[in-house]
């Protein structure tokens, strides 16, 4: 096989040298392409890789499976043209005490009530407050205490990145085997905050920190796509150039989330503003304001 391949290339290579026409090169590529496609099909059969999808299949998947979840805040929904999208990794970045955790708790309550979905909350800083969730549930559903709603919000504490990988793999297995169970379908995964888990390992002498960070990002995106859930993570800010704040986790992290939102709170006020830093289909720079009340 290899010899004839080389032979084919040699013949057409010779043609190129002497005649400089595109036609022989096209022949060569076509032959090479057919051979490669056969080879790929072999690999697919042997190792059972994911089959490739065409554009139409992707569109169908997006329309049927990847719904948009409203966040419960009209301003944010308008900014994001609907809300959080299932299948996407959304990052919430903001300085300390800007309302990231509160927004996550509110989104969890809203998804549990309005979309009747299960929410998985990974808490790294002991900031999950059942009291606040109850308050938001009462606020949204109008002071009717719903035990079923509260039992659909699951919280798990993780304090290092390896246990987070553990939890995510277990989640993947249990959710895949469960299938779609109607009401109790998992719809959102919130990690508050992923930067607390990554900062202790990022940097230093080896590249393991970066590798773990990118693997975590890819695993979250894979879960989002395969299980049709919206993933929301929070990140903090560190000092940048000129005394300004910039998001933590550095340059490599910037390309990992699909959507990046910047949160800030006005001084001494309850009003927060949120703006788009990065979005696959919307313009960045738009700002929306909202209030999280007590």
């Amino acid at each position: 096989m290899a010899e004839s391949e080389n032979g084919a290339i040699e013949i057409t290579g010779g043609s190129v040298r002497h005649f400089g026409l595109q036609f022989p090169i096209f022949l060569c590529f076509q032959r090479h392409f057919h051979r490669t496609r056969a080879h790929l099909r072999e690999i697919e059969r042997d190792r059972q890789h994911q089959p490739w999808l065409n554009g139409l299949q992707l569109l169908e998947d997006a329309q049927q499976n990847k719904h948009v979840l409203s966040t419960g805040f009209k301003g944010i929904d308008k900014l994001l043209e609907g809300g959080l999208r299932e299948g996407q990794l959304t990052e919430l970045v903001g300085p300390s005490s800007s309302g990231k955790t509160q927004l996550c708790l509110r989104v969890a309550a809203n998804v549990a009530i309005q979309h009747k979905g299960r929410v998985i909350f990974l808490d790294t800083g002991n900031s999950f407050s059942p009291r606040r969730i109850e308050h938001f549930v009462r606020q949204i559903s109008g002071s009717v205490f719903n035990e079923k709603v509260m039992s659909n919000i699951l919280c798990h504490s993780t304090f290092d990145i390896f246990s987070m990988f553990d939890v995510l793999h277990q989640l993947e297995n249990s959710l895949k085997s469960q299938g779609h169970k109607g009401d109790c379908k998992a719809r959102t995964l919130i990690v508050d905050s992923i930067s607390s888990l990554i900062t202790p390992i990022l940097g230093g002498s080896g590249p393991q920190g970066h590798a773990l960070m990118t693997s975590a990002g890819f695993l979250l995106k894979k879960l989002a796509h395969e299980l049709n859930i919206a993933v929301l993570v929070t990140n903090h800010m560190v000092a940048g150039e000129g005394g300004n704040l910039k998001p933590a986790l550095g340059e490599s992290w910037k390309s990992i989330p699909h959507v990046r939102l910047l949160l800030s709170r006005d001084q001494g006020n309850k009003t927060c503003s949120i703006s788009i830093l990065k979005h696959p289909s919307l313009a960045s720079g738009e700002v929306a304001r909202f209030v999280i009340d007590d």
């Binding site: 300390s96 790294t124 407050s129 606040r132 230093g204 903090h236």
Partner: protein, 305 residues
């Protein structure tokens, strides 16, 4: 906190509300006999209700499994607060406390034993006066705790370098497994050894965030409160000086709650800056010879913080 949230039976709650006791403050100023008369219940039952009310108001202040960071200028009373907390955690349950032990990690050497003894003695006096007040219809009750017991229940560690601090935080897990009655860990102050002589700033961030995660884990697993005392620095931004927490923004992200201690004129105040469940509020306090007390001077009942 409202009366309707107290863990009482529905009939007791109903009686309280119909008699006009809707808030905790109205309950705290009532005596057992008044309550018994108003509610038409026995003295013992009234006493139980008052105990439940005082217990829930105090346990609100020291919720387990949170890491709290107190930031303040020097001289504001951070170490005093730390000493007061180490003593208060030992208040026995029948007086409304947690009855636990305290771990005090001292990095600056600012823990003064004589002061702790003073605060402990004042606490015992307050407790006996309080229990005498509560049970004045019944026999006088002896508080079975002496000041030297209180000092014995404070596990004191002195760290002199950052390596010792890191080693100690790693050891805490094993220590608390062996001493299960520890209910509070106070570190005074967490950033002292990291502010000078630490050239590699990236390493400092990594080490500190790792330490914060370990403390969070300890707080969660053993259901105790971790209180970190920190200093403030001046930040120079765009020509103006601003006070910020020492060690910057990544450190302020690492804690669950943040309480800022500051001077309001001549008065010391505490302000909740970050909390997942409490709203922003400030309260004045004063540092007296008996410890930390409310700064309102005219109150009949001794209120313990």
């Amino acid at each position: 906190m409202e009366v309707c949230r107290l863990p009482l039976s529905a009939t007791q709650r109903g009686k309280l509300i119909s008699a006009g006791y809707t808030s905790l403050s109205s309950l705290s100023s009532a005596s057992a006999s008044d309550l018994a008369r108003d509610l038409k219940i026995s003295d013992g039952e009234a006493l139980e209700i008052l105990n439940v009310a005082s217990r829930s108001s105090r346990s609100d202040n020291a919720e387990g499994s949170h890491a709290i960071i107190n930031g303040g200028v020097p001289g504001i009373g951070k170490t005093q607060l730390g000493i007061q907390l180490a003593v208060n955690v030992q208040i026995p349950p029948h007086c409304g406390g947690l009855g636990g032990r305290a771990i005090y990690i001292d990095t600056e050497g600012s823990f003064m034993v004589e002061r702790a003894l003073q605060v402990a003695e004042a606490c015992i006096e307050d407790m006996s006066e309080y229990s005498r007040f509560l049970r004045k219809d019944l026999q006088t009750f002896q508080v079975g705790l002496q000041s030297k017991d209180i000092l014995e229940n404070i596990y004191y560690f002195r760290v002199c370098s950052y390596t010792e601090q890191i080693a100690l935080v790693n050891y805490l897990d094993k220590f608390i497994t062996e001493h299960r009655d520890v209910k509070i860990v106070i570190i005074d102050s967490i950033t002292f050894h990291f502010r000078q002589d630490f050239d590699d700033l990236a390493l400092r961030t990594r080490v500190l965030s790792g330490m914060a995660l370990k403390l969070m884990k300890v707080a969660k697993n053993f259901s105790l409160a971790v209180v970190l005392l920190n200093q403030v620095t001046t930040k120079h931004t765009e020509g103006s000086f601003q006070l910020g927490l020492a060690l910057g923004d990544s450190w302020s992200h690492s804690c669950t709650n943040r309480v800022i201690l500051y001077w309001n004129g001549n008065e010391r105040c505490a302000y909740i800056d970050k909390s997942p469940s409490l709203r922003s509020a400030s309260a004045p306090y004063s540092v007296t010879s008996r410890g930390i007390r409310n700064s309102t001077s005219n109150y009949k009942r001794v209120k313990m913080m």
